[in-house]
Amino acid sequence: MKSNSTDTVGTAERYGISRNIWRMVVLVFFAVLAILGVFLSLTKGSMNISISDIINILQSPINSASSQIIWNIRMPRTIVGALVGVNLALSGAILQAVMRNPLADPHIIGISSGAGLAGVVIMILFPAMEYLITPIAFLGAMGAAICIYILAWKNGIKPVRVILAGVAVASFLGSGISGLMIFYSDRVHGALMWMVGGLAARSWPQVTIIWPYALVGLILALLGARYLNILQLGDEMARGLGVNVEFVRIALTAVAALLAASAVSVVGLLGFVGLIVPHAARLLIGSDYRFLLPASALLGVGVVTLSDTFARVVFSPIELPVGIIMAFIGAPFFLFLLRREL
């Protein structure tokens, strides 16, 4: 992985700023961005509600219109958006290390499609089992990941093969999703919204679905940070340093699949978050996963909540799915990375 994308940390050092202070500055900056995103997401919309009103409403829920909007609509939607941002960003950051590919993103390489296909099968064919949607989406995501490994394996993992195999898996599984949706168009509500990934009408049930996975995924990802650092030295050096590479790769892929699957279960096929966020974070904070993972999580919150607010407010009364905004920023970003890194 030859990469110039990590100059900034070095540059900071050249100007005499200690590495750790710079990292803290970046983390604080991302945290501020996340808080800003959450605030804007709560205050802006068809009805603007001031921060002081929100604080009052949060302290003592009253039966006013603004209280209803905050409690039933914007609060859960913001939480879902924030957690989806965390999950997709972490998933992308992990996949980039374990697949040894800077372009690995759960959406691009078909892991989200695996989760999506499994999810759609449940939604359409076995609606009674809807409570199992995340575990089954996880199995779908893991299945897609294993397919990619099998297809891309040739005396070790080759970055270019990963991306090619992933794109093939993504379109193959995507055709399955589209096919099912067309055959059973009567049973799918908001199918289009789901295909591009949107936060419309996401509320407390979705919060309940995603938060345990976000929490467990975050903890497991942080525990994996050291292994991710060593995997960046290549499989052979990692093995020489005493890492059980096969096991670690499968385990961390499972964590990434779990994070992506829980995000897909609640918002559908939201793309590019897992690509843009870890890269932007890496650009500023460097490739040490002990810092990169928390930075990605915070930036994921900021990016998704800000994009969603933008998508709701700017074209009001029309509300765009957040996935359209992400694709609009993400596709050029993908090309930029392609030129730079591969």
């Binding site: 992985m1 070095g10 525990l223 030295l233 490739s287």
Partner: protein
């Protein structure tokens, strides 16, 4: 019995036999150079000893115990390997790289302790990298980078260090720097060094024994002077060369011509 005994191993990669019924003992405290033409299986041999490749037949033993009987971490505390041209994120500092060498001593939940810090400092001192510990790997010269990697391997506190062409891509000065560093580590620490080399003069100058490989087999093992003969250079490398005694009393060779068959 050596510190490592390679017993009749056959290794296949992608269904191709790379090593064929090979036997070799590595003696505690020696510098062993492995030489041979391209594609003869030198790197595969190192990787098999380091458990990166597994053998189809035969076994590799470390102090009498099959290498497969060690846990990953236990083994990494005994043996370190530097593969050819290893990669690392460009923003990694020398210090952080060397700290990765402490991985086999840390369980998944424990953080850095004093022992680790001391060992990292020791490894940096051994390789004269203390001044450069805050530098980014990407900003180092080839020789400095190689020393940083050697420091990482030393932080594992291994008894045996395997190196795959440690001087490739380096200019003559940096080549000598690396070779002399390895010689020093061998003499002062008693570190057993096994290295794959292309430069036969390095093998002659810096190793106590040379193992010559050809087509997946060991052709000859022994002291440099006994091993490197005109006949061997002709048989294995297909070159005609002069062997002579250099001004430091060591044997040296000068390749003169290809031998056409």
């Amino acid at each position: 019995m050596g510190i490592i005994d390679i017993k009749n191993i056959t290794v296949e990669l992608a269904k191709k036999t790379i090593l064929q019924d090979m036997t070799l003992n590595i003696i505690q405290g020696e510098v062993l150079a492995v030489i041979g033409p391209n594609g003869c299986g030198k790197s595969t041999l190192l990787k098999t000893v380091a458990r990166i490749n597994s053998c189809k037949k035969g076994s590799v033993e470390f102090e009498g115990a099959n290498v497969q009987s060690f846990s990953h971490r236990q083994f990494a505390r005994r043996l370190a390997i530097l593969t050819q041209d290893p990669e690392a994120p460009p923003d990694l500092t020398v210090y952080d790289l060397v700290k990765l060498g402490r991985f086999p001593y840390r369980s998944w939940y424990s953080s850095n302790n004093k022992e680790d810090d001391e060992q990292v400092a020791w490894a940096l001192a051994q390789t004269s990298m203390i001044q450069m510990k805050k530098r980014l790997l990407a900003t180092l010269s080839g020789g400095e980078r190689q020393r940083a990697w050697i420091a990482m391997a030393l932080a594992q506190r291994p008894q045996v260090l395997l190196l795959d062409e440690p001087t490739t891509y380096l200019d003559i000065c940096h080549q000598l720097e690396v070779m002399q560093l390895l010689k020093k580590l061998n003499q002062e620490l008693g570190l057993t060094v096994v290295m794959v080399l292309h430069d036969l003069n390095h093998a002659l100058q810096y190793s106590q024994r040379i193992a010559v490989m050809k087509a997946g087999r060991i052709v000859k093992v022994g002291e440099p002077r006994e091993v490197i003969t005109d006949q061997l250079l002709k048989d294995v490398f297909k070159v005609k060369a002069d062997t002579f005694i250099a001004s430091n009393g060591m044997q040296a060779i000068l390749p003169l011509d290809l031998i056409k068959i």
